[in-house]
Amino acid sequence: MPTPPDVAAGFDAEALYLALLDQVREGLAGVPDVAIVGIHSGGAWIAERLAHDLGLADRLGFIDISFYRDDYAKKGLHPHVKSTRIGFDVDGAAILLVDDVLYTGRTVRAAINALFDYGRPKRIMLATLAERDGRQLPVAADFAAVRTTLAPGQSLALARSEAGQLTLTIEQDNA
């Protein structure tokens, strides 16, 4: 098993983004009817940038998965549900779903469920800045800038500064 990265070290999120952009640009070349959907909040930040850099600003949407979470009965509704905005026709679209970190796979499951309530996409792909161990569902990323293994109790957190700068840090859960 690889050694977990040092907590203090973290990642260069801006470099990871550029790596992800390259992967996505190459992977989506020639794919018709592409649209990008970011999962609030971290995924939405990355999706916004990808849409801009790929010239797909008019094919950008956002999704909040609060209404589709599988732990609603236990945890209740998130106090700040953000609005889901899908401005393009989901039917027949090739949707690139974007999240900041792929971990258990439950968020992606919820997002796919939510998307299907807007229509029937032709295809859904997944892009994440980082992918870590701990999958609980058969979900895999089509594009990921980094794959890493964390120690128990650690998590990855994406933040965005007011200037729009992204940082990805490893946090120790207090729970």
Partner: protein, 319 residues
């Protein structure tokens, strides 16, 4: 005193009245509602939040409209809805209210939506559920007597916030039969809690209840004076049954003094909105030209009402 609407973590467990609800919870409901609004525009007008939950509509007093909006809200949350025709069932056979509740709870009800002619009936049910440790069963007051109609009050606040953005610089007038109106009472509590600086009550002296001034409400018996420079006008339905009670002369006389006409509306601010909880009596409390006019937001109120009820039900079901 412990607020029976909140659980020990301070979360909304039942919705019985806006009175006593903290501002933060009201804002939370309005924020949550705004994310439910768009669901009704989608291909699939449903989210799975209350999948597998059973919502019982207990309407001891008829109200097709309110019952329907709760039914739609429940179904858009994927709950199963059971409508009980109470008038034709057990109560007419002599069963007590709380026995009815216990029987339905034994059928694994998760939520009761209660409309009752008696003020306080939903409180009684919620208290009984709390006392008998049935904390997983929740109660929503869908209107009790003259007391409260909290979801109507909340959807009115949602509508005001949608059009006016900020509560803290508004003049709001409530017009009509304030005395018998649970909507007026819920609106006044909500407006006050949300920081509206001036709430006015306009109506004939016989229909203005005592105690309003202590709640900070300004009273007007002259409608023209009361409407001057207001931002929001909330018209109330004139209940026909009041006419027989000698509180009012006739529908025609009432319209002359308190009907909202385009001329009267012009006394309010030029961007004032006109609201009405429905059902409207055209030509009694409101002129058709106003009801169908550009300033009326009566139909958006109905649409927002679904989202607000979805927000309330999803919040209490997870408490």
């Amino acid at each position: 005193m412990h607020n029976p609407q909140l659980n020990k973590h301070g979360e909304l467990n039942h919705l019985l009245s806006i009175e006593g609800l903290p501002k933060a919870i009201i804002n939370h409901i309005l924020d949550t509602a705004s994310s439910f609004v768009s669901i009704s525009d989608r291909e699939v007008k449903k989210v799975p939040l209350l999948r597998g939950k059973s919502v019982f509509n207990l309407f001891f007093e008829n109200s097709t409209r309110t019952r329907t909006t709760f039914e739609i809200a429940s179904k858009r949350l994927s709950a199963d809805v059971i409508n009980l025709n109470i008038a034709a069932s057990s109560t007419s056979k002599g069963e007590s209210l709380l026995d009815t509740i216990d029987n339905l709870a034994a059928m694994h009800a998760d939520m009761f939506v209660v409309r009752h002619a008696q003020s306080g009936a939903p409180y009684l049910i919620a208290k009984h559920l709390n006392d008998t440790k049935q904390h997983h069963v929740h109660v929503v007051n869908a209107g009790d007597g003259r007391h409260a109609h909290p979801t109507q009050g909340l959807l009115d606040m949602y509508t005001i916030r949608h059009y006016k953005k900020d509560f803290t610089n508004l003049r709001v007038a409530i017009v009509g039969d304030i005395l018998h109106s649970r909507v007026a009472r819920s609106d006044i509590h909500a407006l006050t809690t949300l920081g509206v600086p001036e709430v006015r009550a306009i109506g004939p002296y016989t229909l203005l209840p005592g105690g309003l001034e202590q709640m900070g409400v300004r009273l007007f018996t002259n409608m023209d004076e009361g409407l001057k420079d207001v931002d929001v006008i909330i018209m109330l339905r004139l209940q026909n049954e009041r006419m027989s009670g000698a509180l009012l002369p006739s529908a025609g006389e009432y319209f002359k003094a308190y009907g909202l006409t385009p001329e009267r509306l012009a006394l309010a601010k030029s961007d004032a909105i006109v609201m009405h909880p429905g059902p409207m009596n055209r030509g009694v409390e409101i002129d058709s030209a106003v009801a169908d006019g550009a300033q009326a937001v009566i139909l958006p109120q109905v649409t927002f009402g679904i989202a607000v009820r979805m927000a309330v039900m999803s919040m209490i079901a997870s408490a």
